[in-house]
Symmetry: C2
Subunit: 321 residues, 2 copies
DNA sequence: CTGAAAGCGCTAACAA
DNA sequence: TTGTTAGCGCTTTCAG
């Protein structure tokens, strides 16, 4: 306390917060001393008195992935409009980072929204009692509030679109890590379902697993061309893989979309800029972030959680098909 | 306090933090009650006792700009390795948001790193006494610790490269907002300097101001083609503008690089993927974020701030020149 | 193993 | 205008 230094007492408080009812001279003196000894009010002590701004944790796998970046933008915007703060956490897309992170997070924030796959990690946060919204994980038990993405609508459109163009051999480039996690994404399931419903057969080698990156997509395409040359259209787990695969196909001399058509998922900004522009299943990513914050707000005010938000998707047809 | 509910007293603390020296039975009972009444330890009260994790504020103009995204990734990584947290703040690239944000920020975090232009905003944070590192604003007074980007090296390479290819009429597409702020970026100054040193003339209409987006770049290119058709090479404020301009030029029938060459700045991931791949001045964006955290750490331990970090740049030649 | 007391750094209420 | 008292919610002595 500056009481020892300045001649005055806890009246420093009045000075620091420059309240009224204080002699300007005293205030200045206190402030001067405070500056000299590098005094800084404690965030926590303050937070205890004034009811501080709510701080929400946001867990995403990877900041460099434009998909999550847009979710962050949406959440940030919604948070800012409520005067809330956002603390960013990253799992580096590593399943084994989820658990330790989740265990420490509840102590740091007032509420949390997170992309998480590990059930234990999800349980850790949900069990901590803080308001919580889970993102993009549809096969989680119903006890936790969710914002989920309805890929079915868009993916069905995609399949119909390809079928209408006469494609009979439709392959898929999937996310290896996601598949390996034992909790395959809805996209994978929907691909199989849609093919069956359309009466199309699928061979195992028509599904290639890829590391989630441009190069990963290219590598998967290389294998696809070697092992399944009969495939004339490829549905990709996301735009990044689609772009990597498409570029590789072009480099290897395939004409697009004549020899092979490509469809991505997400509709990240770059997809409209590549050549040829990528046909893709559009997801309103900002809306995911916004909706998550809104659900958090609902939990915090009413106590009860509101109904899950479902983000619809739709096909955006461009030149790659 | 759970003392009223559970039969026991502040020994809940022992239970909550599951310390040793407590009867498992008692612990479980306390925990059960705590869960039932939705008890959650207060972040702040805790932070007062245990010295809590340092929380650093990170201010950037825009999360959706891949340049800043990579800076965030670098900062996040460096922060995580120290066990620090990052709170994200955004100014939405609006100069007038900087001041109010800066004034409230010091109370929320233990330290701060920020992309800021408004001198008042900078002074507000610097004056608050928290450890502070300013990013990318080179013409700020020397009193504040900085990580700055040395565009000169890379930009000089870029000019030499264009000159070596015989370009005599080199234009520039600049960032309108940055120019309008009255604090033009070093890039703008260096463009003029480099041209003079190379003995090249510059006409006013060779410098077009653009809104910082793909479309903004396209619009600026449209004006450039109309007002300065003699220009055969264009240096752009950043890759986004360059890509927008280049695409528009192609759409209008220009051959690239034969009719017009383009050079960007930043080397964001997309630049290598567009067609033709963009020649650009590479900036190590992750390093900016890392360096900022390192300088913060230096300030917090030694008290004195370490020397500013300078991020070197270099030209990456691709097919657009 | 459990309870009582003291105090973290600050602010709010009331006196002086 | 300034000082005093009390207490925010928790952890940490030190006794019981």
């Amino acid at each position: 306390m500056a009481r020892a230094t300045g001649v005055s007492r806890q009246t420093v408080s009045r000075a620091i917060n420059n309240m009224t009812q204080i002699d300007p001279a005293t205030r200045d003196r206190v402030l001067a001393v405070a500056r000299d000894m590098g005094y800084r009010p404690s965030r926590h002590a303050r937070g205890m008195m004034r009811r501080s701004t709510t701080t929400v944790g946001l867990v995403i796998p990877d900041v460099l992935n434009p998909f999550f970046t847009e979710v962050v933008a949406g959440a940030l915007e919604a948070a800012k409009s409520r005067g809330w703060q956002l603390i960013m956490y990253t799992t580096d897309s590593a399943l084994d980072q989820e658990k330790p992170l989740s265990e420490s997070i509840a102590a740091q924030v007032d509420a949390c929204i997170a992309f998480l796959l590990d059930p234990d990690a999800i349980a850790a946060i949900a069990g901590s009692g803080i308001p919580f919204v889970l993102l993009g994980n549809e096969d989680q038990a119903g006890s936790v509030s969710k914002v989920r993405i309805d890929f079915e609508s868009g993916l069905r459109e995609a399949f119909d679109h390809l079928a209408a163009r006469g494609h009979l051999h439709i392959g898929m480039i999937d996310d290896r890590k996601r598949t390996a996690s034992g909790r395959p994404d809805a996209r994978t399931r929907l691909y199989t379902t849609a093919a069956m419903e359309a009466g199309l057969r699928i061979e195992p080698e028509w599904i290639q697993q890829a590391t989630n990156s441009i190069d990963g997509g290219a590598a998967a395409m290389e294998r696809m061309m070697r092992e399944a040359p009969e495939v004339t259209a490829i549905l990709c787990y996301n735009d990044i893989l689609a772009i990597g695969a498409m570029r590789h196909a072009m480099a290897r001399g395939l004409a697009i979309p004549e020899s092979c058509a490509f469809i991505g998922v997400d509709d990240i900004p770059i997809s409209a800029l590549v050549d040829p522009p990528l046909t893709t299943v559009h997801v309103d990513k900002r809306r995911i972030g916004q909706a998550a914050i809104e659900q958090l707000a609902a939990q915090m005010s009413s106590g009860a959680s509101m109904a899950d938000t479902v983000i619809r998707t739709r096909l955006v047809v461009r030149a790659s098909t």
